[in-house]
Symmetry: C2
Subunit: 337 residues, 2 copies
Amino acid sequence: MATPRRVSMADVARLAGVSSQTVSRVSTGSPDVVDSTREQVLAAMRELGYRPNSAARALKLGAFRTIGVILFSLASTGNSRTLEAIAAQAAHEGYAITLIPLAVPTQDSVLGAFTRLGELAVDGIIVIMEVHLLDAATVPLPPNVQVVVADSNGGDLYSVVDSDQVDGARQAVTHLLDLGHRTVWHVTGPEDSFASNRRADAWRQTLAAAGRPAPPLLHGDWSAESGYRAGQLLADEPGCTAVFAANDQMALGILRALHERGKRVPHDVSVVGFDDVPEAASFIPPLTTVHQDFAEVGRRCVQGVLRQIERGTHETGTTLVPTRLVVRASTAAAPPS
Amino acid sequence: MATPRRVSMADVARLAGVSSQTVSRVSTGSPDVVDSTREQVLAAMRELGYRPNSAARALKLGAFRTIGVILFSLASTGNSRTLEAIAAQAAHEGYAITLIPLAVPTQDSVLGAFTRLGELAVDGIIVIMEVHLLDAATVPLPPNVQVVVADSNGGDLYSVVDSDQVDGARQAVTHLLDLGHRTVWHVTGPEDSFASNRRADAWRQTLAAAGRPAPPLLHGDWSAESGYRAGQLLADEPGCTAVFAANDQMALGILRALHERGKRVPHDVSVVGFDDVPEAASFIPPLTTVHQDFAEVGRRCVQGVLRQIERGTHETGTTLVPTRLVVRASTAAAPPS
DNA sequence: CGCGCCGATGTTTACGTAAACATTCGTGCC
DNA sequence: GGCACGAATGTTTACGTAAACATCGGCGCG
């Protein structure tokens, strides 16, 4: 177990017959090294199996080429996919990702995560979470660390990247109205979710703009089970011919409830979801839903942080990634009344 | 933008009127500091907002309290959930997670990831991936970095943690046979997946042990769409009354195909899945499936790496996490023939 | 032909921490 | 009461890197 001391620049320098500073120059890609010397150094590196030590580099530079990602749960498709895109884009830019999962979504734990990331000397932070848990006044962030927030509400304090929830919901509702449905019922997500609230707001406004009455809101919690319960209620509403669910899981539950109660989709009731999870195309029937481009959200998060890191500026404002309605087989013209 | 130089131990020491070494002792929790002094130092830390610099600490100690996680995709529920558990457990043990996503699952890219993690001075590595991509002979791992592999085949070279695929598949098939089905069809995952292969092997062996003929294998790729295609074939097989799908997504596709062809589940055909994704309970009908405890897999991965890190030993062998059949409404007694 | 400039490389230093070693001081024991 | 010991704290040093500064040598130009 005797750890054979790591190969350092000094070792490489000795073998190559140059100073360690020249090795450093080669390592950082400085142009001030003549080709022949560079070759010699590279050869020595190869021979010794030299790996730069990022700890020493970080100590010297005060930066790690690392982005911290704080999130609460990976259980949702959206978070997973966003994280995956973040990781991929960061890797592409030569940055590593340090993941801080939060056991509970409280402000205290977010604070703790910021603290830990501060110690870890990350260059930037991406928070995948509702922003109401953040409060700039109490968060002791190192001043040179930049933050981008995904899946959140306001871009007042931080730079925010999000899917265009409002337009997605609008497309969904409009689609149903265009099919001749008199109005559209809505099953919403948890009350403390901004994404859920924005979708509900857009649903209400779209109905209002079309001069249609808004049926009472049904409350779910993103889970298929909660959608199932809502679906049972909807099945008993004789006037309900169109439902917009705030996500695909709840839509799945609604489909099952309607099926069990003998309501045919889309013949009797049309259903639209939100997210476009890969399985949505295989629901019974294949689900019409609003596609979110999580990969793009992740990419823009990384680009946003890196831009701020490079420029040393702090940005605010919201970047919206377009959503689009994917029409499948769960929606059809309203039944003749 | 003038970066106000970070607070260092020296600053704290000056304010507290002690040497920086004493600050270091307090910071590392050494017992050789008298309480009154410790209090003074802690007060100074609070006042200045001191944060230990993990880069310097890592440089000094040669270790980071960081675990690297290499994985190919987060798209699958299993990987996401496993990663989440890994992150949670690691955080609990005071370790950070550095995520390296692989764009392509080739040996070269795994090698590159190892190299990067080597530079990042991680203490251990967890690989969530098929192990056939690893080849100890060619992977230049720092000798003091420990590796644990999840979701893989052999524990010859590394310590492996996996769900008990074999027992899960056995339970699924046995359940169907016990219901009176003459035999069980199987829709398998991608050919290069060990998990998929093990489930298929166990399926075959369980049938053989029961003296039943094994129908031809149907090949899928984990996706619901591939399950749908397999389901279309199965719907045309008059003798097919029971199907075991290698994951829940494919089971979903099968359910849709059977539904479209007028086969009733479970009345005409019973279907069992694998994974127990949260939505499985809301499929039409609710899916009987094999539950995997991804959280436990993640936990054991972390525990395995940390144990090796602490002891400085290299372990091999496989740890199996139990799986269990969850019976819902997609399976029933075989129809009278 | 000599001077100055610039490109290539070497030397020094600092980053923040913790181990190793040094020092101080009080206490107990002979 | 002096001496040895050990607990508490201070001093020195090294970890590996890269910036800042120093040096060296060659080449162009007057």
